[in-house]
Symmetry: D2
Subunit: 284 residues, 4 copies
């Protein structure tokens, strides 16, 4: 490892301070550090910095300081062979399970190459329709189609692997990866999906038909969602972080990305340990 | 009865044609007819017409032709002593249970004063906050607080009868009357509430905490919802038909209106008959 | 107050020990104490004791030491004018909000008559059918109809106030009071109902039809549930504590009892405070 | 194909009559027919008959006449290379999509070997514990752990692939295959799982913790459920058809069976067509 990419939650003084300390330490040991613009700016650091979406391309390891959102914003652009280590600043995250106090020990092992990692499925999302370019957006958590607050119920025509599934009339539709199944999907009534499974779940948001239950699908079928409702404000949101307007006759096409995300796994906690803690299963 | 208010779904040729026929018949029998502007315009009728929100004030009876939305748009402005008769144009509605083929017989009885009616609770909704006037909006179905599609989760601080209930973190919150319990509330996971009961239900939309279940309350306690989230686009929607932006430090205050809505009841179907048909309980 | 009824959770050494101490104190101050048989037996106390179902009739005040179950087992037999004070032995209950450390102060106020109380609706449950006596069972939480583990789905024909509601095909049906809405009803997907409201909720357990949602009703309508399935083991359970087999052609009839239960209210916590704590709304 | 196994719903005169006709036709064309005992008995047929659990072993093709239950009772014992054709007698089933009127044409194609089939995952279920034999039960739909109607909430300690998941306190737990995801699992709030996917879903029944949501897992991990509750009547049910009592310290162990079930697929309807029809998505 020569270059280590670092991104911190720019609204957290704690995250920034800790990122600065780690940076100094890494540089002292001969590593190059690369920031995203926002982190560099907040740290007043004059070292190398690039756009968040390029951070993974310039690094052999990515470390984020903050919550799941901070990790997501970097991870969904990262190449598949760059491991990502998420450090939380106090509250355990689904993706950021390393605590500040455990970080030094974890980092030693990661720098020594003595760590396990796991691949998480990501999806490529493309909007096809009149006047659309062919830009693909990659998501680690979910792609969400959502009506605006003042719009009426929207109708979405869904096909999977070329087969017509149904026309869903709902406030929206969440297409979540296993990683994203514990995020927005859970609030909308979707199931938890084992993190490293090759699956995707379609969960309608406030569906008109009560029998429109979440559907779990294998991750190797193309999902196509046609917007069938005219004259309504509708948005596609990517990992809850980026959004673009869509409209009637647009088709949202979702395919498994050839690039999974590689998360550093520490041995201390299992996937189920995190679930139990985050969802408070142990109590009450 | 001297004047009968008539409103038709302006996008339905069937509803307009039937409204025109009924109008001609009523005038032939010596009744005055008053339209809302939209209906008059679409019918090309030069008779008396007023704003939808005033239609009830100029009528001793209101008849709507269309779906539940058509009735709602008139009913939520109607005085409490003006009965409302909803005629559906093919599909049974929760509020519009009279079919075209049954209409002549029903109308005779209504004109003869030989009918039953039932009162439905409505709520007055007011936004209190910096720079707000004291306008009250009346709802028959629901008041909904909703984040915009691109906004993040919002936090709403709820008090009931002056007692703090909880801070809900969710996409939004539905405050539904018994009448509205079978509308949006049902899609969001709320219960059915017996139509003529003195109750209200608070149903969070996609809540972050899975234990934030719908709460049914008596209808005589003031409900106050404070917006605790800054810098997000948030809207208050009234009966799904009218919306206004709200923001941090605004308080949405909801009280039972002194004016219930009076619906004409035909003896043919009970409330549960309508539920069974609309929710397809009888089948499968 | 001359006689104070005392019941403790007989499997809890803490509850028994504390009950013994309180008993000694009360007797020292000139009060009579009456136990239920189980508590007397476990305490080895030779004082007055009666059946749990009679404890309320021999007391002017009831105090329970244990959890909600302990209180329920006494309260559902208590006359309406006997206040009940529930002391929890460590874990806050929905019904037993007084902590051991707060008990002395609360008791002083109760003995001085300086306390508030609230009435909770109870229901009388009767099974009508061939060979049935007319015994009525009173419930404070819920009456539940449940198939046995090996039985198939059962069909229950429900009428409310003489009107046919629907035939529910499900594992069972919960009829819960507002007090019971936060118990089994919540696990089965039912809503929370404000504790002192005049309401009842019907919640099907694992219904075959996904549109068979919970229904909230006013508490003054008779609910009748006819068992339409032959040859299956089916049980009626009362407050989760008492059960009896029922069969095809039996009718379970539920009416508001003329005897509500009177709970001592301490000023320290509101109903919503208890909800927030029990359902962990404050966290996460 | 030499021998064709035939099983009919023994309580349906239509199914029996149609089975008799098909049998005569097949014999006339030189095929051997083998019945299960119940069908042979009801038909009064003196031909070859065996136990249901052996029917697949004596046949090169299985045909069932009745509903999903009839097919399930035969299929879960069938070897993996024996295709199964389910004929429904009026109501479309999830597993029995061939209608009587389409049967002749479908049968011709099947006899000619001109048909597609699909493999459905099954699971082997074994109860390990004191005094238990090592009998394995195979399920095509689900294994369900359920408390008896009068028992209290039970606690089940779940591990997956050797990792502790959680202790679930609930009325029970459903472990459903993709095929069974649209059966009991759906009523308990579980998701739909694409039928041919390598997955399994754990769905708690009326869980005490509202955050105990269904969990979807890959089908190649051993699921072990330890009963942690003493002195309660608890049952394990297999495909809703066979049940056995289990108790504290028993462990229910579930592994993917090496024998999937082979269903004949007719080209007329897709999996999603069946879902839409059965769940009434197309309407309302």
């Amino acid at each position: 490892m020569q270059t280590i990419g670092i991104s911190a939650k720019t609204t957290s003084e704690d995250a920034l301070a800790f990122a600065a300390r780690v940076t100094a330490d890494l540089r002292g040991r001969g590593y190059n550090v690369c920031f995203d613009y926002g982190t560099a700016d907040r740290l007043g650091d004059r070292g190398k910095c690039v756009a968040k979406s390029d951070l993974g391309k310039h690094s052999e390891l990515l470390i984020t300081f903050g919550g799941d959102g901070t990790l997501l914003s970097v991870a969904r652009h990262a190449p598949k062979d760059v491991p990502i280590l998420g450090v939380n600043m106090g509250t355990l995250g689904f993706l950021t399970e390393v605590r500040v106090e455990d970080f030094p020990e974890v980092m030693e092992r990661v720098l020594a190459g003595d760590f396990e990692s796991e691949k998480r499925v990501t999806f490529d999302v493309e909007v096809r329709g009149p006047g659309r370019d062919h830009r693909k957006y990659r998501v680690l958590n979910d792609a969400t189609i959502n009506k605006s607050a003042l719009a009426r119920i929207i109708e979405m025509r869904v096909t999977v692997g070329g087969q017509f599934v149904s026309s869903f009339r709902a406030d929206g539709l969440i297409i979540a990866t296993p990683t994203g199944s514990t995020a927005y999907n859970l609030s909308a009534g979707g199931p938890i999906i084992y993190a490293t499974m090759g699956a995707v779940v379609l969960t309608p948001i406030c569906p008109h038909m009560l029998s429109n239950r979440p559907i779990v699908l294998p991750d190797d079928l193309e999902i196509e969602i046609g917007i069938a409702t005219p004259n309504q404000e509708i948005f596609l949101t990517l990992d809850g972080q980026e959004g673009l307007p869509i409209a009637q006759n647009d088709k949202v096409c979702i395919n498994r990305s050839p690039n999974p995300v590689t998360l550093v796994r520490t041995s201390k906690t299992s996937y189920f340990d995190v679930l139990r803690t985050k969802l408070k299963w142990g109590e009450g």
